[in-house]
């Protein structure tokens, strides 16, 4: 997985009218990286059918 760049964070945050202070940027990038990994994990997951038990 690629690392999250400042530019990506700025674009996304601008779209929700959130201005991220410079001192928060590293923390937001780190947390976003974690969320992106989990996001990838669930998008790779094909939800199986459930066989109903009697």
């Amino acid at each position: 997985m690629k690392t999250v760049s400042d530019q990506v964070i700025e674009l996304l945050s601008e779209s929700i009218l959130l201005s991220i202070p410079q001192e928060c940027m590293e923390g937001v990038k780190k947390n976003t990286q974690v969320l992106m990994q989990y996001s990838q994990l669930i998008h790779q997951f094909e939800i199986p059918d459930i066989k109903e038990k009697e």
Binding site: I9, L12, S13, I16, L17, L18, S19, I20, P21, C24, G27, V28, K30, N31, T32, V34, L35, Y38, S39, L41, I42, H43, F45, I47, P48, I50, K51, E52, K53, E54
Partner: protein, 449 residues
């Protein structure tokens, strides 16, 4: 006799007045909470006034209720009339005071209970350790060098530390279950929708629950039933006819052998047992994490836009990242939640109960704040919920079962039932307590009652 019942009994029989009891608990908190740091505010005036009203009712021959005069504490995210609901934050501390108690507090007070203190938490409930930037850390009552767990750490520590007979907490991803385990007390995460959330500051509404912490299963049932307005008694078949499934796979990884042995001891009480490897728990847990991050981020977005620096940095940056999550990921996580709920519905056709660890070990050291996931050290603050988060995705009630060990720190387990089976959990918990398998670890301070 349990603590809550004992207190109510003594006050009803005029062995002690409510004022004496409340004053005693306020004094105990002042004396013994210095090292734990579980209390954020005293409700002294309100508590003593309420105690005089209780005493007056008793003097008139009236019964104030099943929790007559019992002092309790509430996590800082419950509305308490006349107090500002801070949710552990600086940000909300400038708000107007609540103009009424949270609904469950109203019910407890109507039953005679008396709130005496507000209790420490992770800011906005976003953590598993109760390390609050503004109020400080709450320490484990059994070992001050260790975490109490969170985010309802003040609630759990005050009960385990013997300075409150019961308290209220909340659980989004494990915030009752984790601190209950580390502090050695009983707790319950109820079924979705059973307890009213009016007057409770939210975190992630898909998962938020509230519930009590108590020193015994009997107390837990009594307090919960008042909160839920349960009036009828339910009888259950004998424990030997119940079917219990021990969760394997994910729920055995990185778990101390002591905890797995405790689970085995409980499983052996049931004649019908099985071992279940729930599939895709890694994805279920990831989905829970993402939904929480997104809902929390969305909730806080207005304040993150205007007052970001008033947040604890650890909370702020997690919430900001959550607000940026693509909606397609949130919606996929919701689909996984729905699938998991259906999957569990199926499991509960074959089993009455499921059992799993609530935590993988005893409380971590504060100066070494890590837990192990897949054998690798990771942040305790963020990862203590790996066994509790999956069940946050269900609507199921979960009983946090304390396991007392002489000379060792307490551990805790999750006993899970299908929705609306809280009374079954209490019945099983009661049996485990009577048999000495489950027991709270409480610092005995109360030489008066």
């Amino acid at each position: 006799m349990s603590s809550v019942q004992k207190i109510a009994h003594h006050i009803r029989n005029k062995r002690y007045s409510a004022q004496e009891v409340v004053s005693h608990y306020l004094e105990m908190i002042e004396r013994y909470d210095v090292s734990m740091n579980s209390v954020t505010r005293f409700l002294k005036d309100r508590a003593l006034y309420a105690a005089t009203k209780v005493d007056a009712l008793i003097a008139e021959g009236k019964d104030p209720g099943p929790l007559v005069g019992v002092p309790f504490g509430v996590k800082d995210l419950f509305d308490v009339k006349g107090e500002v609901t801070t949710a552990g934050s600086k940000l909300l501390s400038q708000n107007n005071p609540a103009n009424q108690d949270a609904k469950v507090i109203q019910r407890l007070c109507a039953a005679g209970a008396i709130p005496v203190a507000t209790l420490n938490m992770d800011e906005f409930a976003y953590g598993f350790v109760t390390d609050n930037e503004h109020h400080g850390m709450t320490h484990n009552p059994h070992d001050f060098s260790r975490f109490a767990g969170g985010s309802s750490g003040g609630s759990a520590a005050s009960v385990g530390g013997g300075i409150l007979s019961f308290s209220l907490g909340s659980d989004t991803n494990g915030s009752i279950r984790v601190p209950a385990s580390f502090c050695g007390v009983w707790g319950i995460r109820p079924t979705y929708g059973v307890l009213p959330m009016q007057g409770v500051y939210p975190f992630a509404e898909s998962f938020d629950r509230i519930g009590p912490f108590c020193q015994s299963i009997e107390d837990l049932k009594t307090v919960f039933n008042v909160m839920a307005e349960v009036t009828t008694n339910t009888s259950f078949p004998s424990i030997s006819s119940l079917r219990i499934g021990q969760l394997a796979g994910w729920f055995e990884r990185d778990v101390d052998q002591d905890i797995l042995d405790a689970i085995q001891e409980i499983v052996r009480c049931f004649s019908k047992q099985g071992k279940i490897d729930l599939p895709h728990i890694e994805q279920v847990r990831a989905a829970s994490y993402l939904m929480t991050a997104s809902e929390g981020g969305k909730l806080h977005l207005p304040n993150l836009r205007t007052k970001p620096m008033e947040y604890d940095p650890a909370t702020r940056e997690r919430l900001m990242a959550g607000a940026l999550l693509p909606v397609s990921s949130y919606l996929k996580a919701k689909e996984i939640q729905f699938w998991f709920q259906q999957y569990l519905d199926n499991i509960f056709k074959e089993y009455d109960l499921l059992i799993a660890p609530a935590v993988g070990s005893i409380a971590p050291q504060i100066d070494n704040p890590v837990v192990f996931v897949d054998g690798k050290p990771v942040s305790a603050r963020v990862n203590l919920g790996i066994y509790t988060q999956p069940f946050s995705m269900s609507h199921c009630p979960v009983l946090s079962v304390p396991i007392h060990r002489d000379g060792k720190l307490p551990i805790g387990l999750q006993l899970i039932a299908k929705p609306h089976q809280e009374q079954l959990l209490f019945a099983v918990g009661s049996l485990l307590e009577k048999n000495g398998i489950a027991k709270a670890t409480i610092i005995q301070r109360n030489k008066v009652l």
